[in-house]
Amino acid sequence: MPQLKSLDELRALRQQLQRDVQARTAAATTITVGMGTCGIAAGAREVMSALLDDLAARGINAHVTTVGCIGMCSKEPLVDVKRGDDPKITYGNVNPTMVPRILDEHVADGRVVEDWVVARVAA
């Protein structure tokens, strides 16, 4: 392990290490994947894996959590994005190929991907 020689080096290391504990620190964005039986049957697991891989690749700090069936089974897999104080946006029939666009446009940039929105709940 390299010896730390200055405050700047410590801060750079902290920046690097912070992703390791991000589940325990506050995040501006929470992404929730519907993982009831219906969601899993419709491919929510693959969506979850794609989300985690793509988030890591982009270095985005967001919490990813799971939730049970909310009753809109025909639109599963459902993915909610709650970005700061913005309304909660629910995307329906999400598949892994859609994940990069949601992350790049909505999570990173704040532009909702209107084509895939199925619900919108104000904060």
């Binding site: 392990m1 010896q3 730390l4 020689k5 200055s6 405050l7 080096e9 410590l10 801060r11 290391l13 902290r14 690097q16 290490l17 912070q18 992703r19 390791d20 504990v21 991000q22 589940a23 325990r24 620190t25 995040a27 929470t30 929730t32 993982m35 009831g36 899993i40 979850m48 894996s49 985690l52 988030l55 890591a56 919490h63 990813v64 959590t65 799971t66 939730v67 049970g68």
Partner: protein, 618 residues
Amino acid sequence: MADQYRADLLVSCLHDRPPELLAALDAELAHRGLDKEIRVVKAGCRGWCAQGPVLHVQPDDTFYVGVQPADVPELVEETLVKGRVVERLTFRDPATRKRVHRYADIPSHRKQLRIALRNCGLVNPESIEEYIALGGYEALAKALSSMTPEQVIAEVKKSGLRGRGGAGFPTGRKWESARHAEGEIKYVLANGDEGDPNCFMDRALMEGDPFSIVEGMTIGAYAIGAHQGYIYLPFEYTLAARSLQAALRRARDFGLLGQDILGSGFDFNITLRLGARSFVGGESTAIMHAIEGKPSEPRAKHVHTTDKGLWERPTCLNNVKSWAIIPEIIVKGGDWFAEIGTERSKGTQVFSLAGKINVTGLVEVPMGTTIRQLVFDVGGGLPKKRYFKAIQIGGPSGGVLPAGLLDTPMDYETLAEAGSMMGTGGVVVMDDRTCVVDVARYFLDFLRDESCGKCSTCREGIRRMLDIMTGITKGQGSLADLDQLEQLAKVVQGVSLCGLGKTAANPVLSTLRYFRDEYETHIREGLCPAGVCRSLSRFHILETCSGCGLCVKACPEDAIIGEKKQAHMIDQDKCLRCGACREACNLDKIEIVSPQAIAMMPKPAVVAVKPAAAGRGR
């Protein structure tokens, strides 16, 4: 280098437990292919001692108590795959009987403010990476790069921090004396030798967050100009020693301990010293003697240890909790800390709650929190809806305070005025079935064992007080004994050298002050109203007894007789006076009377007539 996990499972209470729970979690996560996205973190104690093992799911903040290996498949399936809460494993609030899902919503947690224990249970104590990621070593870097030692001391003085070992000496002033003391070589010491029988906050801190102690000591060493530090802890604390040892090694690996720390040119090293756990051994000069290899006995402090301490050199000793608070003060500023607490007692205090209280374990609350808030809001009140009778604060030599003082704010001065002390923060809650005379006798017995014997007042005085107290609990006391007790207590308090002797009389003096009538009842009426002193209490079933038979089942000696649905009676010749029947009775139909009173009552005649009837159908 860092992996990204979507959830962390913080598992506490693994101390001394078989590894099945962790193994079950690892196996279940691997089996479901979740081990790359969910991580199990071996965290330290978070104070939930009565409810362990506890498991905290982040980022959802779901909190589970009493988790067993058999619960793991359901827990993983429901919570981590489907995002649902396993209701039966959540915490049930004793006040409302309602389940609480999120950790942040648990009432006893909401009332707390954790500064010394800020990381306990939330980090892997062996990982310096996690400590740094969550803001660790920012304080040391700030002190070394932008503050002079005088500025560090000024900040600590401004914070108003007082020693958390119990005596409450202002930390900043101690540092200043050590800095100004003459001598090239100076030492800093961390005291982790807690000798109280029911205190374990120092252990929890050393096990759960060793880096904050190490960082705090390094800052202190920089401030007073020391280059060597020692952490003294009981050798019985094996996990704490291992955790600290690992922390020292990792800190050296990262250049945060040793030569030229953070490129500042400042050198500092820390060595662990293990001693035998004892009550008097936690006294500051006793620790210095122990580190020097001498018997751990205190000496008179005519010369301050900040002038001549360890090996006759200027030494700054602080409790591990004080050291752990220092980094927070440096990062957030002395003013931030000074805003918490009361006029003269700043910040927070860690209490270990024990006795007749629902939430036993470790809590940290702002100074000035009232006893009522501590017991009823944070501690969840007393179990079985029993009445609050008294509370002992400050460890075995703390005073016992009555229910009338429930609204007393807890800070150093107010507690001392009331006849108790802050001490180490050990708290024992007593209900109406606790005899305060017996409690005072019990603690005298403990202190007699722990007295090192150097001062005759402490060595002989405690023993003599114990003899008198034992006499009273056995019905051999007289009212003159009470005056003699008071006199003896004042001599022991006034003449003994160290904190042990000076405070040893607290339990006796405070109970005499607040519960004198209970002493007098013991002596005049030959009755222990709480039913604890066996020579002075007899159990008697009231005539309104419903005859439910619960007491019959509870009695280990088959001493209770009576027909079903008719009032029962106790055969006093068989009765052990254990009190099991009274605990079992839902209707409070068992009273305590004196041996003289029971002698006047009719003996249970049924004994001879229907001996077999008692057991039938039950």
